[in-house]
């Protein structure tokens, strides 16, 4: 046993210096080299990699509310790479790799838990689509395979294999599937970034973007104006509202996405389980709560209210999959405003303004991408606008050329 631990056990003092994880509020400077709009996971991750790999530290992250209080705080924390397109799988696999080492890198526990994700197929068409996903994923180094009913029953003994007259035919078993504590991810990045000199300004809302001759010159905030060299917008649900302040539209529609958790019970469910036909997924957190999530609201709305019809349909599907859940009590329910694109892929990279970069269109699937987004967006900024190969397929221009990266089938039911 380390001597320090022994001494700690005998002493009455806390052995470490009590330094706060984040520095307190301070005045805004007149100028920053880089301004990042949005202090969610994506914004602080970008700041972290800018400081860590590129030595760019004159950076301000501006957050209108508090750190990681947007969709970063609202997601169901599914991390996976079993997408459909080679572009998508390559990108999300790179993120999974970064996640695997993130707690070590931060020296901060993000409670990364690789429990595997199981998606159920109830029709022949879905079985075919799953085969393709398994092959593409394997090709890019992911651990994904098709499994039959018997293996599913062994993996999740309490699962009803014949829910709602839709017998389970097969499953897509993704061993790399994981969850992480979302707040810890945001805090780990924010701590690492601010320790290296980045400024995080909470309660600082960007209300306008100033530009001249196709280039951004500064941002207007509720705390005054700031001049800046480069701007990144990473505001998730409000992506289209922000781009309009910069003077251009985005092909994004805001839809609420709802989720809920039950009271905690003893652990019974290790893998994350999702049904493609019921549009519902169920997982147990490390605290024992059962998380229930599913498809988006049926029509667009900039409002994070929760609604009764969505709760009813999600709970009905969850009870079909795990009938004994009908005995459970709900603890919380909530919604986030998600920035949906037509092809269920993000919009990353250049914008019509020269030094204004986009990290948007994260819809219902962007938590898992937090590390790789931060890393590639930082490369984009540091190189002065050279788009990293990994994110080139996600350019805004793809819509003008009808070159979408269609991930709808691999995203709509499980995020």
């Amino acid at each position: 046993m380390p001597l320090g631990l022994l001494k700690y056990g005998r002493g009455s003092d806390y052995p470490f210096e009590r330094q706060p994880d984040l520095p307190g509020p301070r005045e805004l400077k007149k100028h920053y080299d880089v301004v990042i709009i949005g202090g969610g996971g994506h914004g602080v991750a970008t700041a972290y990699y800018l400081a860590k790999y590129h030595g760019i530290t004159n950076v301000a992250v501006l957050e209108k509310a508090y750190l990681g209080g947007g969709n970063t705080a609202r997601n169901t924390a599914v991390i996976r790479s079993n997408y459909l397109t080679p572009e998508g799988v390559r990108f999300y696999s790179a993120s999974v790799k970064l996640y695997e080492n993130l707690a070590n890198e931060f020296d901060f526990n993000i409670m990364y838990s690789q429990r595997g994700q199981l998606t159920l197929a109830h029709t022949d068409a879905t079985v075919r689509a799953f085969r393709q996903r398994a092959e593409v994923n394997k090709h890019f180094g992911g651990r994904t395979e098709m499994i039959d009913r018997q293996s599913i029953a062994e993996l999740v003994p309490c699962l009803n294999l014949d829910p709602a007259q839709l017998p389970v035919l097969a499953g897509l078993w993704h061993q790399d599937g994981a969850t992480a504590r979302h707040d810890a991810v945001a805090w780990g990045y924010a701590r690492g970034a601010t320790q290296r000199g980045v400024e995080l300004h909470q309660l600082t809302e960007v209300t306008g973007i100033e530009s001249a001759a196709g280039q951004v010159t500064g941002v207007v905030t509720n705390r005054g104006k700031i001049a800046c060299g480069t701007v990144i917008q990473a505001v998730a649900g409000h992506s289209a509202v922000m781009s309009q302040k910069a003077g251009f539209p985005l092909p994004i529609v805001a839809y609420p996405l709802q989720a809920m958790v039950t009271l905690p019970v003893k652990p019974f469910l290790n893998p994350l389980v999702s049904s493609s036909a019921l549009h519902c997924y169920v997982q147990q957190t490390s605290r024992g709560e059962i998380v229930i999530g599913g498809g988006s609201d049926p029509y667009p709305l900039y409002n994070s209210r929760a609604s009764l019809p969505l709760k009813e349909s999600l709970i009905a599907s969850a009870v079909d999959m795990f009938p004994f859940l009908s005995e459970m009590r709900l603890l919380r329910q909530w919604a986030g405003i998600t920035d949906m694109t037509a092809d269920y892929s993000p919009i990353m990279g250049l914008s019509p303004l020269k030094n204004y970069y986009l990290d948007a269109g994260w819809g219902t699937w962007g938590f898992k991408a937090t590390p790789i987004c931060g890393k590639t967006m930082a490369e984009l900024v540091a190189s002065g606008g050279e788009v990293p190969t990994l994110i080139q397929p996600f350019t805004l221009e793809r819509f003008d050329h009808f070159q979408q990266v269609n991930e709808m089938g691999a995203t709509a039911a499980s995020h």
């Binding site: 667009p300 709305l301 609604s307 003008d400």
Partner: protein, 98 residues
Amino acid sequence: MKIMQCPLNGPRNISEFVYGGQVEPMPDPQQCSDKDWASYVFYDNNAIGIVREWWQHAPSSYWFIAERHNASDDILRTYDPGELFSERVDFTTGENEP
């Protein structure tokens, strides 16, 4: 329960309706550029405010237009498309023409 006023069937539960996208003028598919068509297909008016949308009352297959605030979710007015469209809008790509 949220209620929507159907111009044909009166007040009904919102779950009986299907959202059908925003009402936008369609550019002529044979004349317009790819960019114009992309703009029509992918770019909505996504500012926060009142939007004009297509909705269908599913049980009766009746399409109509609603004006709705996309943040408060207040439905301000619903009406028959006849108020905006006096003739049928046909869609041709030109591919099947002689």
